[in-house]
Amino acid sequence: MTRVTETAQLKLPNRSAPRRRKRIGARARSGLLVGYLILIGLALIYIYPFIISIAASFKTDAEATQDALSLIPQTVTYAAYERLFGDVPFPLWAGNTLMISTIVTVGRVFFDSLAGYALSRLKFRGRAFVFAAFIGILSVPGVVLLIPRFLILQQLGLYDTYGGMIIPLLSTAAGVFIMKQFFDSIPVSIGEAARIDGAGTFRTFWTIVLPMARPALVTLFILSFQGSWNELGHFIVSRQSPELNTLTTGVASLVSGQLGSGNQFPLQLAAAVLMTIPVAVLFFIFQRKIMNTTEGGEKG
């Protein structure tokens, strides 16, 4: 379509250009204008809520409630943020989330790569069965695991411990699947040469094949970090002590208004803003990777 538009635009001033082309050009341009208007309207709907939320986190409770739309607070106050670091144990929640997400992300990337590599490259009895089982497990809906997870953690004495919050998340069938698919796409000859030279299985995996799987590792890293940072369900059923609250469970408890009267929008919004920052930073760093669908596909 670009090519058509471009040619049309190039030829537009040229009176001798065929009429037909000229008409297409004009139509394409008016279509583009309408497209821009639709897109800008939609982008506003998607972005504006976040902007006024940030603005409201610097307002007083009364102003946030009465004048929700304004972008600039009449009186800028940091009271909400001060409270988050004062009466609310926000730093504790953030610390828990940071620690848990880090361990879960590293663990998942490592264990899922190991399993994916074995299922893709190593010949052993039962491999086909294990792979089929992982495929089956892919379709188990996460939300029905809440009660079962609680039951097993209680049986194992892991309920209300960091172990119980972390270990069940250390490997996922989806991650194993992603890694297996990627290892399948790396030529077998690559690992083979190292093995002939006498490198052990783990060394071949660790120093030769794994570094080649970087794109898949990055994908898994992003998904795991974002997934564990935003995880709520598992932390509802695996703990009850306030000291083990993560950002999601802690901030969710602010919503139910455990901190006294009033809607406290600035406080809640400030918490929402702060807990979103790390994921947002990750998103902007890896933006091209996350939305790579368009790269290379762009024709014009």
Binding site: R3, L114, L146, A272
Partner: protein
Amino acid sequence: MAINAAVRPRRGGGIRRGEARSGWIFIAPSVLITLVFLVIPIVLALWVSFSDWNGFQSPLSPRVNFVGLENYAAITVDDGLDQRNFGIAVRNNLYYVVFVVPLQTIIALLLAVQVNRAALRGKGFFRTAFYFPSVTSTVAIVIVFQFLFTSSGAVNAVIGAFGIDGPDWFNDSTGIIHGLLSAFGVTAPTSGLIAEPGFLGISGWQWLAGPSVAMSSLIMLAIFTTSGTFMLLFLAALQAIGSEIDEASLMDGAGAVRKFFSITLPMLRPTLFTVLTLGLIGSWQVFDQIYILGGTSAGGTISTPAYLAYRSSFVDLQWGQGAAIAFILFIFIIVLTLLQRWALRERSPRKRSVVVAAADNAGTDTAESATAATAKGGLQ
């Protein structure tokens, strides 16, 4: 390599030595975690759903009795509060699905088509804007939405400018179909078949309520957060179609609308199907939002089976019933998933013959992001 393996004796030296052992060592952590924290717990919960366990001693203790299908009966066929709660939750979620799935699909497609325009400037900006809500946590989004939809909030301020008096969104339990009917003077019938308790103990009139205003806010929230993810799936597929077909159809004089419906849309069919089924599977699992909002607000009109399973167990300590609800949901979602897998398997050869050769490259991209989307659901 296949030949290699065939020629080489099965057990022997060479570079394959010790591979079987390494293989099992490599998959051991993932297999163990899956077994201990997924397979065994599901079996344990299945037992609980057939038992009278009350949450006190161990569910495996001899004092816990097998009660057969009693828990399942209590929520489905025995008249009473448990059945009614389940019925209401099913109704709420049904309306949620009916609105969320088509709307998020249409909006995702609209966004993808608009962003895909070749001549568009600032593509990256728009893609980022639409995708960003998908990466933020549900907790943060719920807070933002509560703030937007509070009675004196931004949404009511905007519609107030048009002279509309907005509701107190998250606390309004009026079903929107009931609301519409009452605008025409139709109110709750006091007698007749429609007022009698029907399927799952819910009267026909209650089944017809539509999503409550509170649930409608959650429907908007869902669309807001998922349309970006699905936009990426459509975008990948649109790029696989490529611009040649666009050009050809433009040369043939097809208008943009006609081109969309008679060329683009048919070619997007496999992706459309994926998005619809992923949406369907996801929408029956809505839990986080409901939990954050407390689940029982707005007259119980935002409760869903997933939330009810949690509440029955962890709050009301009726573990058997909670587990039974979870298993009904489990089987329902597995059936949906299997249907999807089966249908996509049937479709793939046809897709290959339709989409031009150039799409083959980009096609892997589609598959990749589809995996990513599934993975995202699976990882969360």
